[in-house]
Symmetry: C2
C-alpha cells in the first residue's frame, strides 16, 4: 500500500501538503494541488484510516447498539442508519445487546475505546446505574437511555391516529393489546390510544375501551387474541388495536384459526409497519414510523453536537385491509 510519503515524494512536495490537499483543510496553490492529485491517482493511494484516527482521536465510524437485529423494526432502523452513515462516509459497527443490560454496557464500553464519531443506542435498559467519562456523543433512538438526547416517534399522537381511524369507521367497543405498561414507549402508545378514545366518548355516543397487557411479540397476539375471541360475540370488541405489528399478526393468526374473518367481524391495527405487514393476509392497517428520518436525525445529531433534548417525529397511519366498518350484527353490547 502506498503511503502519504510515497505520494509526497512523487509529487515533490511535503507530506503536510499532501495531507492538506486530501483533507481540503487549507489553501494549496493549484500546481502543487494538481501534482498531488496526479500522484494519488498514479499510486492508487488510499489514506490509512487507522493512522488518521490515531492523530485525530476519532475513527470515522459510528456505533449502533440495538437489542436484536432480527427484530424487523430494528433491522429496518439499522439499514437506514447504515445508509445514512455511508452518505457521511461513516462506517457502522453493529452490536446486539440481546436486551441484556450487562452486555449493552460492555458493548458501549468497547465501542467507546474505538472512539467513534458517535454511538446510537436503542436501549435495552435505561442505563441509570452507570456512567461514562469521555466526550463521545451518544444518542438514544426509539427508547430512552440515560439522559442522552433522544430521537423518537411521537407514539402518543400516533396511537391517537389509530383511535381516530377506528372511531371514524364506527367502532365503539375496542380493545387495546399493549406491549406492557412497564415499557415506556409501550405505555405512551397505550395512553395515546386510550386517551383519544375517551375524548371521543360521549354519553350519547359512548365508547368502550378495554386494555390487555403482554409483550411486543407474536405470542402475546396469539395468546391474548385467543382469549378475546373465545368470548361470546356480544362481549367481543369489534376492533383490536395492537402495540406492535407482531402482536397484530399474532391476532390475525388466531383469527384465522378460529375462523373469525378479518376485517368483516374484527378489525385489527398494528404499529410499526414492519415489512411483512403489507404481506400478511389481510394486509395490515398500521402506523408507519418515520424510520428513515429517525435514522437521519440520529446521525445528524451525533455529528452536529447541537445541544438537543429530544426530537419527536410524526408517524402516519397506513390504511390497508385489516380494518373496516364493524359488522352489522355488532349491536348493543354489554360491558364485560
Amino acid at each position: 500500500m502506498a503511503t502519504i510519503k510515497d505520494v509526497a515524494r512523487l509529487a515533490n512536495v511535503s507530506v503536510g501538503t499532501v495531507s492538506r490537499v486530501i483533507s481540503n483543510t487549507a489553501q494549496v496553490k493549484q500546481p502543487l494541488c494538481d501534482r498531488v492529485n496526479a500522484a494519488i491517482l498514479e499510486l492508487g493511494y488510499k489514506p490509512n484510516l487507522t493512522a488518521r484516527a490515531l492523530r485525530t482521536k476519532r475513527i470515522e465510524s459510528i456505533g449502533l447498539i440495538l437489542p436484536d437485529i432480527t427484530n424487523p423494526f430494528f433491522s429496518q432502523l439499522a439499514k437506514h442508519v447504515e445508509l445514512e452513515a455511508t452518505k457521511n462516509n461513516l462506517t457502522v459497527m453493529l452490536m446486539n445487546s440481546l436486551d441484556d443490560k450487562e452486555l449493552e454496557k460492555k458493548h458501549l464500553e468497547l465501542l467507546l475505546t474505538y472512539a467513534p464519531r458517535g454511538i446510537i443506542v436503542v436501549a435495552a435498559s435505561s442505563g441509570q446505574d452507570y456512567s461514562f467519562e469521555g466526550e463521545i456523543p451518544i444518542v438514544a433512538l426509539d427508547r430512552d437511555f440515560k439522559s442522552y438526547p433522544r430521537i423518537k416517534t411521537d407514539n402518543t399522537s400516533a396511537a391517537a391516529l389509530v383511535a381516530d381511524h377506528l372511531h371514524s369507521l364506527g367502532h365503539r367497543r375496542v380493545l387495546y393489546i399493549s406491549g406492557g405498561s412497564n415499557v415506556k414507549i409501550s405505555a405512551s402508545r397505550q395512553s395515546g390510544f386510550i386517551d383519544r378514545m375517551n375524548e371521543l366518548h360521549s354519553t350519547e355516543d359512548p365508547t368502550i375501551v378495554e386494555t390487555l397487557e403482554g409483550n411486543f411479540n407474536y405470542d402475546t397476539g396469539k395468546t391474548l387474541g385467543r382469549k378475546i375471541l373465545s368470548r361470546k360475540k356480544r362481549f367481543r370488541p369489534t376492533a383490536i388495536a395492537c402495540g406492535s405489528d407482531q402482536i397484530a399478526i399474532g391476532v390475525l393468526g388466531v383469527s384465522y384459526e378460529m375462523d373469525v374473518k378479518v376485517p368483516k367481524y374484527l378489525s385489527v391495527v398494528g404499529f410499526d409497519d414492519i415489512n411483512i405487514s403489507s404481506l400478511v393476509t389481510p394486509h395490515l392497517t398500521t402506523i408507519r414510523q418515520p424510520i428513515k428520518d429517525l435514522a437521519k436525525y440520529a446521525i445528524e445529531l451525533l455529528l452536529s453536537d447541537i445541544p438537543t433534548n429530544e426530537i419527536s417525529l410524526q408517524a402516519t397511519l397506513i390504511i390497508r385491509n385489516s380494518t373496516s366498518v364493524p359488522y352489522k350484527g355488532a349491536v348493543k353490547q354489554k360491558k364485560v
Copy 2:
C-alpha cells in the same frame, strides 16, 4: 484517558513491559506483572485500539457486507456473525450492498482500508470483474464471491429432504417455485428437489414435477401461487415446494385469499426457516439452515487462514403444519 505510559509510570516499569503483560506475549516476572495489573486497575486503563491497530496493521474488527439487513434470513445471519465475533473480541462493521455490485465494491474497498481481520461477504454479484490486492482474508457466505473460500448450506441435499418429505406423505404431483435459475443457490435448490423427485419416480408409481420461476420474494409466491390455484383442481399440484420462506408465505397468502385450505388441499414447504415461518398460519414446514454454524465457520475461517475451498453444512427439515397427506380427491390427474 490513561495511556500505557501512565500505567508504566505508576507501575514503575517500561511501556514495553506493560504491553507485554497486556498482550500476554512474553513472560513477565510475577512482581512486575502484579504491579502492572494493579496500575491498570487503578487507572481504569483501556488500551487504545486505534494505536494498536496502527502498529499491528490490523483492526480488531471484521466487515460484513450483505445485500439487505432487512431480509430476515440475512438479519439472522448478521446476528450470529456478530455474536460469534463478539466471542472473539471482534467488532463487526455492517454494510448493505442493496444488491448493487458497484456499491458492494465500494464497501469492500472502504473496508479494506480499515484493514479488518477479515471480511465476510454475502455477495450481490460474483465479483468477477475486479480484484483486490492485499492479504486481508475474505470469505463468501451463502453465495459465491470470486474464488474466495465459501461457507454454505448444502442446498441440493436440503432440497432433496423436501422432496422426500412430500413424497413420503403421498404427494405425486408437485410443483416447485424457484427463486430463479440464474441465481446459483436457487438453481441448486431447484435441481436438488427435482432430481430427487425424479429418482422417486417409477412407472408403477409415477410422479409429476413442474417448475415455475420467479424471485426469492413474497410477490413471486403471490403471483405464481395465484396462477397455480386458478387452475382447475385436476390440473393442480397437491403440494408446492418453494425456494424460500418468503415465496412460501406468499403462497400461503393467496391460498387464504382463494380459500384453498392449507394443508388440507395444498401442502406448502418453504426454505430458510426465517423467524416468521413458525408464526404464520399455518406454521410453515421448511428447511432450517444451520445459521449459527454458518456464522461460526465463517469467522473461524477468517481467523484461521487454513486454506479451504468450501464448507458445506447440512440443513434440517422442520415439519410444521403446512404439509400433510394429499386430500382424498386427489385422484388420477392429468398432465398439464
